[in-house]
Assembly symmetry: C2
Homo-oligomer: 743 residues x 2
């Protein structure tokens, strides 16, 4: 045993210093949960080693400096790459989207707007008309007007949309199945300590980037916001391989991923602070203050790279940046809160419908044709979307127009209702269309897709309708007592764009149940503190209404659907069970598989391991006393025995295995014993059998444990794993405990 005070003593719980470490001990299998405490200890150990060496030579000193700065380096690289990729995706999607309608003859790589901006013959009034830009009908039929050209354009639109969708889904299916969907549920699970190898790899990154462009361009009602978080996390993961500090430590790697997800939201919405809060509130599990600072840095770097690329040509980070100039009035809180109610209802409905659809996809034959599903949805969307100019454009451009305040310079069609007062009605009918059922399916289907934009679109449409209704009310009844004080005749007193924004926030809040980060993201879009109160009122109402129908957001619902082992930090454990009711073995079960510290043979040990499927085995002093010594993991034992057989002579099936410091006294003719102390965790977490489960759950959450031993008066009784806890929680909530599939 160690003798206290010296440097190596603390590592006895991990590795015995007298022996060299066994390769592979301390790593994890795919689809297993990491042990945060162990990972953090490993990192501190590594840090101490580097620090103690750093005065030895200039080279070691440089290495220690490199190590100290690698955290900043990796988040900088991640921020740079995320910003650059986001800009690339924006530009490519824009170009492909316009390709559906026509092509720029002067320069193929220009989109519609760029094509006409470079043309000299463009006037301000007709910015989107110029001879260089040819619609497909003009190119193929040679005529720009008439029913024939309309049908030709319609056909080409559908043809391109279907091609893009087909290409996207095929690429995903063939090369990187992990590139499906938004990826946020999986990233949440990974950040909570789960391992899914390849989910953040280079293939996923490449395919996700390409197919995201194709999916957005195909006109499917989906957003690139969620997938951008996935893309940023892939960048973070890939860059972390440059630095052993991060590549070899699963806990440290997750710090980089937290920062990367902040960068992803930062470029998706142009909201660096909102991105950091999103990472803190929604995605991250372990978020020390150091990570807060680095996330902020990564988010800023990404935002500035994106702004330098300037994909929207307005030196703003997002398409839908707006500035309002009219204040809001207290009375308007009523429609805002109503929008919140709508958002909550929509969120609850969307989650239920989406989960039901995904469950059907999983359980029925229907799920076997993902390519057909996407093509079918893309075809319907394209057929329905083309005739209406609002749905023909990108969903985020639609949101932009909905948010816009109607000023004198505004060319949006949405603003014309004021001059032709009957237009108002026509408008409120039209853009309702994307709210139809066809906008629901893509989220969860097999193309990269986010639900931010579709939800925001629904909310923005609802909000704009309410806003216009209010405006008309104020216009025709400006002498009502409500409007009298603040609505002068002819003056703007209601901003329909603000209503659209509040509605978008409410719907997004209802679907994701985000709160502070959502308000901050939208606040960064508008840049005015004034509008925080309406936003907060709507988002809060939306969350409360949504929670009344089910406390899970869409991401949690998907995590549960997939059976990932995610212990939510937000959900409170309110039941009154005790540790001994949750621990294994249950009363009817066979007794707990334990190892004694010095009287097992290799054969007995292997038999114990093979007979059971447990991932860890408590080591005790003797069967009689049941006093706990430590815990040995299945994977480590298997690796250690194999390693000993290969490298140590004389290890046989009847060799004695011992976990103690000194070998037990053995008869003279017995084979060489096998010392396994180095793989023994001598500081396993223990709780007493009387500990309430609420405390146990708290310990698991805050410390990131994988398992915990249960004792009574110093005797070992059983074991509780993360899976046991999740199954217990599912059972207490009257859900199927078998749905938790992983450790």
């Amino acid at each position: 045993m160690s003798n206290g005070g010296g440097a190596p003593s603390s590592t006895t719980h991990l590795l015995d210093f007298l022996e060299e470490p066994i390769p592979g001990v301390g790593t994890y299998d795919d689809f297993h949960t990491i042990d945060w405490v162990r990972e953090k200890c490993k990192d501190r150990e590594r840090h101490r080693k580097i620090n103690s060496k750093k005065k030895e030579s200039a080279w070691e000193f440089t290495k220690s400096l490199y190590d100290a700065w690698s955290g900043w380096l990796v988040v900088t690289l991640t921020g740079l790459a995320s910003g650059a990729l986001a800009g690339l995706i924006d530009i490519a999607a824009d170009w492909l989207n316009d390709l559906k309608e026509g092509v720029c003859l002067s320069a193929m790589w220009f989109n519609h707007e760029q094509c006409c901006w470079t043309s000299n013959e463009t006037t301000f009034a007709e910015r989107d008309k110029c001879p260089q830009w040819k619609s497909w009908a003009e190119l193929i039929l040679g005529q720009a007007e008439g029913p024939g050209s309309y049908i030709m354009n319609y056909f080409m639109y559908i043809y391109w949309a279907l091609s893009f969708a087909f290409l996207a889904v095929c690429l995903v299916k063939v090369f990187a199945p992990y590139a499906c969907g938004s990826g946020i549920p999986e990233i949440k699970t990974i950040l909570s300590g789960f391992i899914i190898r390849g989910y953040l790899g280079k293939w996923t990154l490449m395919i996700k980037t390409i197919t995201l462009v194709l999916a957005v361009a195909s006109g499917l009602s989906l957003g690139k916001e969620g997938p951008l978080v996935h893309v940023a996390c892939c960048c973070g993961n890939i860059f972390s391989y440059l630095f052993p500090k991060y590549s070899k430590n699963e806990a440290k790697k997750r710090e980089v991923l937290s920062a990367a997800s902040a960068a992803g939201v930062s470029v998706a919405f142009g909201a660096p602070i909102g991105g950091v809060l999103f990472s803190l509130e929604e995605v991250s599990y372990y978020f020390p203050l150091k990570t807060l600072w680095r996330s902020f840095f990564a988010a800023l770097v990404a935002a500035f790279v994106l702004r330098s690329i300037n994909p929207f040509g307005n030196s703003r980070l997002v398409l839908f940046y707006v500035e309002y100039h009219t204040p809001w009035y207290l009375f308007e809180l009523i429609p805002f809160i109503l929008l919140g109610v709508f958002g909550g209802l929509w969120g609850a409905f969307f989650i239920k419908a989406n989960i039901a659809w995904c469950r059907r996809r999983k359980s029925t034959r229907f799920g076997k044709y993902p390519v057909l599903e996407v093509i079918f949805v893309a075809a319907i969307t394209a057929v329905v979307a083309f005739p209406n100019p609002y749905t023909r454009q990108n969903t985020s451009e639609l949101i932009k127009e909905l948010f816009t305040d109607c000023g004198p310079l505004e060319s949006s069609q949405l603003c014309q209702y004021r001059s032709q007062m009957n237009g108002s009605k026509a408008f409120s009918d039209n853009p309702n269309r994307p709210a139809g059922p066809e906008s629901t399916p893509p989220c969860g289907s097999c193309v990269p897709s986010g639900l931010f934009i579709p939800s925001m679109a629904i909310g923005a449409i609802a909000g704009r309708i309410v806003g216009i209704a209010m405006e008309q009310l104020a216009y025709y009844h400006h002498d009502w007592f409500l409007f009298k004080e603040w609505c002068e005749v002819g003056a703007d007193c209601i901003t329909p764009g603000l209503y659209a924004m509040v509605g978008a926030a409410a719907c997004l809040g209802g679907v994701t149940r985000m709160t502070v980060s959502l308000v901050v993201i939208v606040f960064e879009l508008t840049g005015g503190l004034e509008y925080i109160v309406p936003l907060m009122a709507a988002v809060m109402t939306s969350k409360w209404v949504g929670d009344a129908f089910g406390r899970e957001g869409i991401y949690e619902a998907h995590i549960r659907l997939n059976g990932y082992p995610f212990l939510d930090a937000k959900e409170e454990f309110t039941h009154t069970t005790l540790a001994r009711e949750v621990m294994r073995p249950r009363r009817s079960d066979p007794p707990l598989a334990v190892l004694t510290q010095d009287d097992l043979t290799v054969e007995e040990l292997q038999a114990t391991i093979n007979e059971t499927s447990y991932n860890g085995f408590p080591v005790i002093v003797s069967k009689e006393s049941q006093r706990l010594v430590g815990l040995a993991l299945r994977r480590d034992i298997t690796i250690a025995i194999e390693n000993a057989r290969r490298k140590q002579e004389g290890i046989m099936l009847n060799s004695r295995v011992y976990f103690t410091q000194h070998a037990p006294t053995l008869p003279a003719d017995s084979p060489r014993p096998l010392k396994l102390r180095s793989i023994l965790d001598m500081s396993p977490f223990t709780v007493t059998d009387h500990t309430p489960m609420e405390i146990v759950v708290d310990i698991f959450r805050k410390l990131g444990l994988r398992q915990c031993l249960v004792t009574h008066n110093g005797r070992l009784l059983g074991i509780i794993t993360k899976k046991d806890i999740l199954r217990h929680m599912a059972q207490m909530a009257n859900k199927d405990p078998e749905s938790i599939m992983f450790n």
Copy 2:
């Protein structure tokens, strides 16, 4: 023992349901640390009781609704009160500050500006001259000009400053000694789980509010930002007494205090998001997501109340709100980083000087005359400050002018150097004066005082000087390669106000070592994302430079100076010691004082308690086996014995005490035994003796423990308390372990 599954079973670790709870058990002594786990369990228990009752009657249902909403109610009330008090303090301080120079004859309660705004004879050019406003010389001597009147005004200025300072320090000394200083170190300690009764009470609130006004008005170089946090926390604490959910639970109360501190910063800087991040980064210890949301709400409410009061008459929340219109250039990062270096150096120097001064005050005779100290400093400040118009005004008004960009409408004297080109030099000399030694002492002395404003003033002055130097450089050398591209002749290309702001942030960052929250606060002051990068560069540099001289910020340094038991979540524990090296008893100590579960008499128990000073006693099965059963706290044992003697007949000195479920079999003639199971904590935290201290420290931090038992192979070895850990950490850092004074 409980039989599993039923509602009462989980409470066995707290209270045995067969007996009624003993009054006083579960409370804490003054200057002790709370047990977060126990408090949170108590709250969940209370919540379950209310929930189970709520279907019984309409009244119970109303009660449960009230309980569910009380969290929102208390933060709303706190926000309202903080905003109102902040407005009041601003207005009163403004009026008192002007009282030093003169009085408004038409209405005594008007300050100088209001007095002249209401006058008809005021022109825009001479806004601060009007017949209603009389300086003291005019009133007393009857003449406005000449050396006599100057001396009279000078004298009255000093007279009022000294009176205010004297009144402030006397009020604090006599009525509420806790109203001293900024209070943030103490609030940090309280939020980490320490109890200081009266520190957030109504007396402290009242006296702090009044004396803060007096201190600011006396002209001392101090700010109201830190004390406003204290004032807001007092409000939070006082309002929490209206709700049993918060008043009776120390952990829940701290959630309210976290939200209150966010509200305090929100009104101090007009930065709601920055306030929340300040609370998260700097002040709070336990910050669940629910608290994040409520803090945000409290911060918003407070900001809006303050804006409605509109104390500055500009419908902004803060005095120094600015908007810049010129972008910054990459090259300017060099001066910004230099400002960061200056800020870090200043911060390190300030902390060292401030701590040295406070230590001297504590250890020498000097500390016995706090009133004299304040009067002395106030006198020097007043004497020096009066002749210079920049120092005569409030420090925050000085900062405002330093931040301001010189536009065509700007009346600030600072902007005149451009027309009389030699003015630049005169300015750079003048405002240097408040950077002299007299600005250091007030922080920590016995008037309510914050260091935000003085530090910001130093930084703003340094920044403005650098900015003006740069501007002159660009003006005279606009054909240098550096300026050539972006500095056209005659155009503004350098904003000295921006430099002042960056400098202010850098100095504040050097002193407090805040990072994200500081950047967000300053970002909210300017409202432009553009300036985040310069701010971040400066704040980061400042933190790194400061950390090179000592890793503690001013608040941590004060906490250590006062010996509070604060386990910093930011500081990493990097040593390699094991639990058994830290636990008590040490090798040379007498054995651990333990209680056996069923063979002690009341007399023996009392003797054990009286002989030792431990706050908790482990209960074991028997001395031979040393198997741990649970932990009983000294306070609870004392209360329980007293309670039993008073209420239960037949309890004598030789009564048997038992902690088991059933009474031990006793001889027929023995007195009635005393059952103490209800005060036994049956789920004490345990670690093995081999656990590295880094893990133990992590457990203490994340779970908020007060003590932890150490076992080896199931046998009890010793105990580790929070104080032991703090002493160990002090020892490892070569500091005096005896400086940790509290439990």
